[in-house]
């Protein structure tokens, strides 16, 4: 549990702050491999509904999921601001998550993040491990391993 160590040492962690509608979410930068515009997505039949399909990222086939659908939020059209964050929790397997917009990269010192137990009953709160306070408002820190299904909720 690397996050825990970070908390104890009160270290500064860098987050990519992304937006879904009016909400801000923070993704620990150490998991982020790349941020790309939305290329052509090939639909994969009969898979979990939040998977939009697969894309070709420099010769690799990478599955992409909609963070909106994963969080039970209404789906929206892709815009020029829509981005895919390529995530590697397991170094040998990449996955893309589609977000409405990438806002910024932000340093958050530990003291500014309030720890939180993920709420198992609210889909939009399943994956939140903490809330960071910034001058622009609150940023929900995402537990990526759980979001992409690398580990069970809880």
């Amino acid at each position: 549990m690397q996050e825990l160590e970070v908390y104890e040492e009160d270290k500064v962690t860098q987050y990519i702050v992304v937006n879904l509608g009016i909400e801000h979410y923070g993704i620990d930068i150490k998991y982020v491999d790349n941020i790309v515009r939305v290329p052509q997505i090939t639909r994969v039949p009969n898979v979990q509904s939040f998977f939009k399909g697969v894309i070709n990222l420099r010769g690799e086939v990478i599955p992409v999921m909609s963070l909106r659908l994963k969080f039970d939020m209404p789906e929206t059209e892709f815009t020029s601001k829509t981005r895919i964050i390529i995530i590697k929790v397991d170094p040998s397997a990449a996955i893309g998550v589609i977000v409405d917009e990438v806002e910024e990269v932000r340093d958050l010192p530990e003291s500014m993040v309030e720890k939180k137990t993920p709420d198992k009953n609210d889909p939009s709160q399943f994956y939140i491990t903490g809330v960071g306070k910034t001058d622009k408002g609150l940023v929900s820190i995402l537990d990526l391993a759980t979001v992409i299904g690398e580990k069970e909720i809880g």
Partner: protein, 703 residues
Amino acid sequence: MDVSQYLGIFLDEAKEHIQVLSDQMLILEQEPDNQDAINEIFRAAHSLKGMAGTMGYKRLQRLTHDMEDCFSAVRSGQMNVTSGLMDVLFQALDSIEGYVETIQNTSDEGDNDNDSIVNELQKFLKGEGGDSSTAEKASAKPAEEERGASASGDKAEYRNIVLDESQKNVMKDAIVSGKHVYGFTVFIQETCLLKAARAFLVFKAIEESGDVIVSSPSSQDIEDEKFEFRFSLFAICDADIEKIKSAIMSVSEIEEAVGEEYTEEMLDSGSSEAEPENAAADKPVENAPVPAGNAAPAAKENKSVANAKKPAGKPVVSRTIRVDIEKLDTLMNLVSELIIAKNTIVSAANSGTQTGGGGRNPLVENVEYLESVTTNLHEAVMKVRMVPIESAVNKFPRMVRDLEKKLDKKMNLTITGEDTELDRTVVDEIGDPLMHLIRNSADHGLESTATRIERGKPETGTIFLNAYQDGNNVVIEVGDDGNGIDVEAVRSKIIERGYASEETANQMSDKDIINVLFDPGFSMAKQVTDISGRGVGLDVVKSNIESLGGDVEVKTKLGEGSTFIVRLPLTLAIIQALMVIVGGEKYAISLDSITTIEDVPVSDIKLVQQKEVIQLRGTVIPIIRLSNVLGVESTKDENENLVAVIVKKGDTLAGLVVDELMGQQEIVIKSLGKYINNDRIISGATILGDGEVALIIDANALI
């Protein structure tokens, strides 16, 4: 010395030695007098001991040392090969394998002393030979240790060379005729890179004034660099010892040469250890009168006889280098990218010619050339990744031996086609499923010895594993001449267990019934296993083989035996595929599974049990509308003729209805990754020339 960087090599080589030991011990058990086997065993055990010592694995070293002592005693005839001895030795081998496994996982040998086995071995060493041999063993042992610790101890290792009678005779004759016989041990500097070449020069230097009679290791092994940085030899020379010594030392990178002149008495004093192993080969030489002058040629002849004998027992070592599989993966990926780039150029060139009008332009020609080069390159890279299935099947003879004892049935395993090659990744994975099938045959397939005699079958049951290449597939058949599958017993079990209603079960064909055995839910049932004689882990076998892109089917005849036929693709990464369009989406279907493509008028479609079928050259074939399976709207008009891609799995055919055909293409298979769970219809994806991703349909999963 930090040895961790050698750990990988140690593990690889240790496994090789263990395999050699296992193979040769099996041979030895069958033919206790097989000297080639015992020599091979001795060499493997000795190398293993040396390696373990170097790496600091004391327990492993101790165990191999005791094993080596046993083999040494067997070799010198002090100990007889008994079933009891072999059992203990096999146990010891298992423990050694255990050590190596622990080392692989933890890079430490663990703290299991395996005292009981060591004690057993010691008991054999003490018990068998009686008083005289214990004494002899005591004298043999220090010699053994000397070999290991030569650098610090006695350097005159030539004293350890065991001379046979004919060699002694040759040397004695030489002494009588006024020549000199020398024993030498030559040490090469440890920094020397071409020790075989240096050794060769030493031999050449000696042969300028005489003849080398015998060397340890053998001249063949020295030539193959199969020796440490030292070797020993006996030579007959005219010149005096100092001259020979200086001739040896004049070869560069030679650290030291120790030697002495031998007299007749000295030659005789070592005679008690004369080895029986070469006796057969030596006889012609011994019987022939050896005139003093011809001593050297006779010795040479003797050597050539010994050498000629070797190839029979020793497998020809293929010239190989070890390459990290990751490097091959990188190479493979690069070739994949090249093929994608090539596909891009091909499509660009084709669209270029369409607009440019008639006439062949140089671009198209060169693109065709590029195409043939990439195809050849692909094949070459695939071949690099191919390894014989031997490494997966070579543990089976030992396993069957153990099963034989455990199940108290007489059985014999025959393996053919172990040199059939498959992709390395497939070979790594195929061992377990095959092991399951062999166990199955041994446990459930073969009848008890009593039953076999009663049925008039040979007392010893036969289990066979035949591998061969069949087009783009490799077929591995595993079977037995046992009881076969009792289909009716399985059928009644299916009904009894409520797996299917009586009515359904009675309608099921024999094939369907047998297929139920591969069902996970079904084969779990112990009762079925007992009655049908089949079932343990067959679902696992099936899923393992399918995950490798293969399939498995069974042929069985009650009372005569069963054969499991495993079919595996030769390559995993790049295949020829038919590109099709369904509902505007592009899909690839492996060309391997396609038999024909048919144009089917809508009026030809009939309904059988609410399922659409067509008749094709007398066969009724179900048709599957891919648009339904894939959840898209077909773009074709309902009344238009259907395009049906006829695919087969084993003997079963099905027609896949697509909207349009795009053509044949070489595609690179990419995994969809572990995050997407699809229902196995999609086996992967590929990247097309224009960068678009197309999914690959697994026809096998649809049938």
